[in-house]
């Protein structure tokens, strides 16, 4: 799996800062938010030259992949920093689906041959991939997988919406075979596979519908153990998406604070009105709480209970926080915030789309109930609230 964390929680190092600066600088130059908008407007999937540069110049695709699979052996935390920067500029394209969804699924399936074949190509930027799990219900649950694999390994069913599903070079699918749910690989051009791009609320991310009709596929990992791999991959993706959302929220807060410091009404800067100041303060609270939740999770080691808990917490908190932040951003911009030309709606679209992508916050909280109950069962009534309810101040 991913490399273990060595630095203590929230103990940022110079390397972390340097990584952040490098990625931020590169994106500012070659993929600012205006570029994400441009690609979305003309319906282009991505900028292949930039994607290659991300791999060749900075090694981002392989950053957290093990060295024996062509990666750099970095941590998920490193990757979180990278996607946070991408979130700031609403970077779309194959990076997230490939690096945050498909690669973790390949790793979790622990199929040496498949990892050796595909991960190095993901790492060097020559292969993009997508993970296809949900089938229209939006719910991430083994029970909702009704795509079937017959004895001969032929897949039949439909998967949608799949992030980058219509365009990726490799599809990792969850399907139900005789042994239960397993993961399968399908390459484009395979007979019986149809891929159709869908129209999307968030134009910066492409989604597709996959239809499979007796499509030959290669099963990977332990037969019938595919769902466990999906769960692990989803946790990794949840943490990374939370980090991405932190970046987007930070951009929203900065954009709005900047506007409030320049726009005048009633002879005053609007940032001097308390109605505006206080909404901004609430945005800052949400951003900082989200940052803590996302990075606390990123600091845990995948595979541990803490990581699973952190992933769910971050997913529930950050996706709701981001949506509210995007709404507030438009509100504090007034009419200009409602225009097509302004970036505010791009952040709003992304926020709503994110909410649906890895299971809704409500689903995540329902899943958390077990953990919450376990915590309540361990209640130590001797431990007082800290500080207790009555504070003398």
């Amino acid at each position: 799996m991913y490399a273990e964390q060595r630095d203590p929680e929230f103990g940022w190092t110079g390397e972390h800062r340097q990584l952040r600066e490098t990625v931020r600088g590169l994106l500012a130059e070659r993929a600012p938010v205006s570029r994400s908008r441009e690609l979305a407007e003309v319906g282009e999937r991505y900028d292949p030259a930039l994607y290659a540069a991300l791999a060749e110049q900075v090694g981002l695709q392989g950053l957290a992949l093990p060295e024996r699979f062509g990666g750099y052996g970095g941590t998920l935390l490193d990757l979180a920093i990278v996607v946070e920067e991408m979130g700031r500029v609403l970077h779309g394209g194959p990076f997230f689906p490939t690096v945050a969804l498909a690669a973790p699924a390949l790793m979790a399936a622990a199929d040496e041959a498949a990892c050796a074949e595909y991960l190095p190509r993901i790492a060097d930027g020559t292969l993009t991939a997508a993970l296809a799990v949900v089938e229209g219900s939006g719910v991430w649950s083994a029970d909702d997988v009704s795509t079937t694999a017959d004895i001969g390994g032929l897949l039949t069913g439909a998967k949608f919406p799949v992030l980058d599903g219509a365009d990726a070079d490799l599809l990792v699918l969850a399907a139900r075979g005789p042994e239960g749910v397993s993961l399968y690989l399908v390459e484009p051009g395979t007979p019986g596979l149809r891929r159709a791009p869908m129209e999307t609320l968030d134009g910066t991310r492409r989604m597709g519908r996959l239809t499979l009709d007796r499509t030959p596929a290669r099963r990977i990992g332990t037969p019938g153990q595919g769902w466990a791999a999906v769960v692990q991959a989803r946790e990794v993706a949840s943490v990374l998406m939370a980090a991405e959302q932190v970046g987007a929220m930070a951009a929203c807060v900065e954009l709005t604070a900047e506007y409030a410091k320049t726009r005048r009404q009633f002879g005053r800067l609007i940032g001097s009105f308390q109605g505006v100041k206080h909404r901004l303060a609430d945005m800052a609270v949400r951003l900082e709480m989200s940052r803590s939740a996302a990075y606390w999770a990123a600091w845990q080691d995948p595979g541990t209970d803490e990581f699973s808990f952190g992933a769910a917490t971050a997913r529930s908190f950050c996706s709701e926080a981001y949506l509210q932040t995007a709404q507030d951003t438009i509100q504090l911009h007034g009419g200009i915030g409602f225009t097509w030309e302004h970036d505010a709606h791009l952040y709003l679209r992304r926020a709503r789309a994110d909410m649906a992508l890895l299971g809704t916050p409500t689903q995540v909280r329902a899943e958390l109930e077990t953990t919450v109950l376990a915590a309540a069962a361990e209640l130590d009534s001797a431990v007082p609230a800290w500080p207790a309810i009555e504070v003398p101040a």
Binding site: A281, M289, A293, R365, V391, A393
Partner: protein
Amino acid sequence: MTLAHPVDLPAAEADLADAVGAWLRENLPPDWLAAVDAGDHAAVERIRADPGRRAAWFDVLGASGLATPTWPWGQGGLGLTADRASIVTEQLVRYRAERPNQDFVGLTLAGPTILEWGTDEQKAARLPALARGRELWCQLFSEPGAGSDLAALSTRAVQREDSSWLVNGQKVWNSYAHLADFGLLMARTDPAAPKHRGITYFLLDMRTPGVEPRPLKQMTGNAEFNETFLTDVVVPDSARLGPVNQGWAVAITTLMQERNGLSGRPVVGQGESDRLVGRALTTGAWRDPLLRDRLVSAFVEERALQMTTIRGFVAAGSGAPTAEGSIRKLAHATLSEKLGVLGTELEPDGAVAWDAGERPVAVDAFLAMKTYSIAGGTSEIQRNIISERVLGMPKDPDPERHKPFQERSRG
């Protein structure tokens, strides 16, 4: 017995926790330790309630530096950073060996403010007593006419020939003032100066003649805070903290510590929402899917706040707290209200009626839920601080900011 010098304290979190745990096991009275080990909360509470035994324990604890781990080595503390200190606190809480919440003003406000502004004599006189729990402190800041606009306070201190000060005025909402040995007092010393520049800060001995706290009954039914009348109170100049007329700068130290200290546990673990979940299981409210979602939501929010507190403490290290503390204080205030209401909803009858003597805990939590959104600076004031100091918004207009205090409008 004292712990080793801080440089010898183990660096790893788990080792530090172990070292503190081992020290506690060695030093706690045997029956206390036995009660903790047996999970006999009532027995622990009985021991803690005995004034003599409590005082004896706080003396041992204070001498070790563990009661005040962030204070510098050599001045009663262990020189630990805020995040490492929280590991110490957690261990103390595990053994119910920690100082009570009543000591918040003493340990979190008075100590650090004296450390920053005190003379050597003041430090020598007050810090050991604070560390060993010999003195209870209160905060005499708010006045009937000066709450959020604290710098508009009008309690007067006039210096006399012999350099002592004569103080007259009235303070209000002063928690535990009726029990306190010392008070953090701000008084006006130059009414001709603008309001922030004519205030001086004192460490008031509450036993001085003319100091008269009168308990006020709170909405909770308890009487923990007071109005405090100050009539011809003579305060020696040696009790002045910081320079004359620069009391506002001293107060900022106190206020920053206060916000920073009001955001809950710097540990990801058991919180108030856990208790609510436990209660919901007992009452059956857990079966309601809507309540379940709100409980898990609150659980998530509380954990996110705990994570934020850890992050804040790590970032602060040994440095002074910053405006970032307002973010956590505001988040805590919001969460506290959410939990207060939710708690009552878990009770079968909404906690609106109970058999004599069977008052549910939810009632107390509900009635106390507004504490954090008012005490220590209201949520509106925290929002102003965040907006102005963190996000760079213009300051709120204050027509009296630059006027001599004595020319202010009244009422």
